[in-house]
Amino acid sequence: MREFFHLLRKVIRTGVARSRFLMAAVGLGIAMLLILVSIQTYTDFNQLLYGTQNQNETADFLVINKKITNAMMGQANKSAFSTEELDNIKKQSFVQSFGVVTPSQFRVVAQAPGDLHFATDMFFEAVPDSFLDVKDEDWKWEQGSKTIPIILPNDFLNLYNFGFSLSQDLPQISQETVKALPLQINISGNGKSDSYMGHIVGFSDRISSFLVPSSFMTWANQAYGTGIVNGTTRVIIKTPDPSNPKLVKFLDDNGYTTNQDKLKFSKTRMIVQTIVSVVGFFGLILLFFALLVFSMFIQLVIAGAKDEIQLLVTLGAAPKQLRRYLLKQFVPIYIVVGIITLLLVTAFQYIAAMALSRHNMLVDPWPGIGVFGAIAMILLLVYFVNWLTVRKYVNR
């Protein structure tokens, strides 16, 4: 068969418009490069965002509430989530787990112990334990216990220590001291009033509220509550990626708000995604045109050798043989282009990985599986289109 193909080369000239064909091959190379680079950039970016090497904590917690607008002021109900809204949040793909922040339905007054004549009205909230960043064995409450464990927001202590105490000539207090302070907590409501001991067990960076265990909250809301349920106004979600543009869009669309600082990566990410998509899109367009040129080139070759092909078939050459011959003239070039492109992408990736590692950003120095998948797909596509063209024109 080799000898036959060797002779065919003299009969069916594939050399016509060779320069145009090579230009199309270069175009194919650039198209592949753009597509592969965009895929690889996307892979790298994801690695930087989610890679275990680049992050201590993969998930993040967000407390979400409705934005309070002027129109809503004075109507507490409007800031509450309806059941449908809660279900809707729960079923979003970026929500890994979901909990409601339960507010207290009773009055709370906290008193400093001993001679510190200090008392303040306050409130409690409760969240499921799994959302807490404070782990303490005292964080539990059983019915009948007169001691309530409390978690304070870290910001609260900071406000006192660095804002209030200095200006009022009061002593600054360490976390340990606060934990040791016995607080008297008076809870009243539903015609009852009781005294409890408040015991601060930790400080939360995650949730800005005064937290008590859910078990206490459930019991106390029944015992002292007015029975009027205010509805959920704040929910807490665990999300693998707070910079997920879908999350940001969801919050915006629904008029919800959260700690904006945690969403700041979202914009960067959207810009990168847009650029990557645009580059990939141009790659696809270029690929389309390269395919078009190849098809036209094959058509040209076949049309140019129409009489010869006719005679070859008359002499007994099988259309199958001729198709195989024609594909053999073109396909190796595509494979070479594919390999060169792959080498280039590998080189780029290696250089990029080296450059990033200097900034302590670790990415794989090898192209990702997506790149290999994509190049295989593109080559298969090119082969398929060529095969179709050859089949279409060498079948008479």
Partner: protein, 216 residues
């Protein structure tokens, strides 16, 4: 391989041919494998047309041509190629060589078209010697004389396996001596393959010991 013609009639020549008597057109004819068939045909009686019908490169006829009881149109493209590579060879009246190939390459193209070539390259050289065209084997097809081309076309047809050889005025450009040489070679090759041939020509001739004679 048996070739059967059944009520075969070329559509373009229909009116003309119906007025004359023919042994082939519009008749039932069977060519048995291994027979040497001569079809004598005056100009314009559809001689080349018949050869093209038999080789299945023209289809404008009524009636049927059956190859081993199977009509030509029922063969697939790849089956037809296989028949042309293994069972049916042809020498065209207009020779049909590739100008861009040398004489030798023209034969080689046909020889190596088959995955397992039937004869060796040396055999081709030998046949060229016998037909006195060995010296032109390296020349481009373009520069050959008609006589040389005709002999190359004969060698090309003989370089493949076949059960039937179709010949359309195969010696039209050859002198008597060269015709004799070519005829002897063709007869030998047919015998060695246990193959038959169908030869069309204008006149009577004694080139072969024909088994059957027809008038077209």
């Amino acid at each position: 391989m048996e070739i059967q013609l059944s009520q075969l009639m070329p559509i373009p020549l229909q009116d003309k041919l119906l007025q004359r008597n023919s042994d082939i057109w519009n008749k039932e004819v069977t060519f048995q494998q291994g027979t040497f068939v001569k079809i004598k045909a005056p100009s314009g009686s559809g001689k080349t047309t018949l050869i093209h019908y038999l080789y299945n490169i023209r289809y404008d006829y009524t009636g049927q041509i059956r190859i081993d009881r199977k009509p030509w149109p029922s063969f697939l493209k790849d089956e037809i190629s296989a028949i042309r590579q293994q069972s049916l060879s042809i020498i065209f009246q207009d020779l049909r060589l590739f100008d861009q190939l040398t004489a030798k390459e023209n034969v080689e193209l046909k020889r190596v078209m088959i995955p397992e070539p039937f004869c060796t390259s040396e055999k081709v050289e030998e046949m060229a010697h016998r037909l006195k065209v060995a010296h032109v084997l390296k020349q481009s097809g373009k520069t050959l004389s008609y006589g040389e081309r005709q002999r190359i076309a004969i060698i090309r047809a003989l370089s493949q396996p076949f059960k039937w050889l179709l010949m359309d005025e195969p010696f039209s450009h050859l002198d008597e001596e060269n015709t004799k040489l070519a005829a002897r070679l063709i007869a030998e090759e047919c015998k060695s393959r246990n193959a038959g041939f169908i030869l069309t020509d204008l006149d009577h001739d004694q080139h072969f010991s024909y088994d059957v004679n027809y008038n077209l």
